[in-house]
Symmetry: C2
Subunit: 193 residues, 2 copies
Amino acid sequence: MQQKTDKIKPSEKILTTAFECLSTRGYANVSMRNIAKEAGVALSQLTYYYKNKEKLFIEVINMMTVQYLHEIEKNLESVMGEKEKLASLVRFFKELIRNKPKLLKLFIDFIAQALWIPSFREQLNSLFTELTQIIEENLLTDPKTKKKYLEYSPKTVAKLILGALLGTSIQIVLGSDRDSAFESLNLAESLLN
Amino acid sequence: MQQKTDKIKPSEKILTTAFECLSTRGYANVSMRNIAKEAGVALSQLTYYYKNKEKLFIEVINMMTVQYLHEIEKNLESVMGEKEKLASLVRFFKELIRNKPKLLKLFIDFIAQALWIPSFREQLNSLFTELTQIIEENLLTDPKTKKKYLEYSPKTVAKLILGALLGTSIQIVLGSDRDSAFESLNLAESLLN
DNA sequence: TTATTGGTCGTACGTACGTCCGAATTCTAT
DNA sequence: ATAGAATTCGGACGTACGTACGACCAATAA
């Protein structure tokens, strides 16, 4: 029965357990020992595979970044027209908030850590850059769309879209009345159309 | 010469020093001992006045909340017309980012802590509520303004504005190219007009 | 068979943390 | 002047942390 779970590579088991712990309790409140214990592995295994706590967290974020950036791009490719793509992006975020709030929390926690830890900051910056580019290339290339924002560059528009999605998500994840804030995302969509 | 600084109440000295430390290095990276030392006060004084680290941070946030909420309201009262008030709010945020980035960092850090610490979360929620109300009452009462957003409630609009300001600020504080992201705030303003 | 390598483990080191406590000092009101 | 309260101090307690180390074990290659 447990054959398969036993065959999981320890390094992967550590990684997924680390994600579970970090996204549930936060970087500052999770110790290497916690992760080791929960993964059913010796503490020193974490050092062996990931060197230290900082690098382990970076790997966790990396894993999530790769996975979800792909998912976003797949989502955007699956519909035609920039209006529809925007709708699709908003829908993606709403589903993320509803179904994977832990992922959002992990991400917000990571942002805060990036304030003080240079290696995190670097990684976060490249994530922001990639996200902005995806938005730019998918939602803002049509001349018709461009005209609407006249003097503003696509990059500026993309950053605002990302900012609004991020800021609203934060309010939702942390706030009490979830549904009222969801409405804000709908409004964002219609304002941009 | 130092008469005046010596006369500062220790509790206040602790509070301002705590702000300085927290906004420079972050909640997780600042110890009670750090603050005590920097404030020139015995460690146990922090416990005496603020009970524990959590409550001390809450007091710091409280101080900042009171001060800057007042400042925002004062700012909004000083101009007439909802368009102008929106412009004034955006200007306020831009100046905040430019002149008091440490305050922004403190705030972002606080948001992340609020993910895991219930007392922080409570305080953050009431701060969000107050901010939303200020926006609602100052920028969204004019019937002319209301019409623009048709089916959306003022609260929803207010939350989006707050979200966009917050999300964009985060990108600016953490990002490398500050000026390009400032543009996003200008765009936000014109989109809402 | 033996030697080498990669993986696994338990443990220990040094340090830092938040909190607590009892004694000393200063202030205040009678 | 003095009792009592408020303040200040240094130090200690127990715990938790990230990291490092050296000993095993299993598989592989010569």
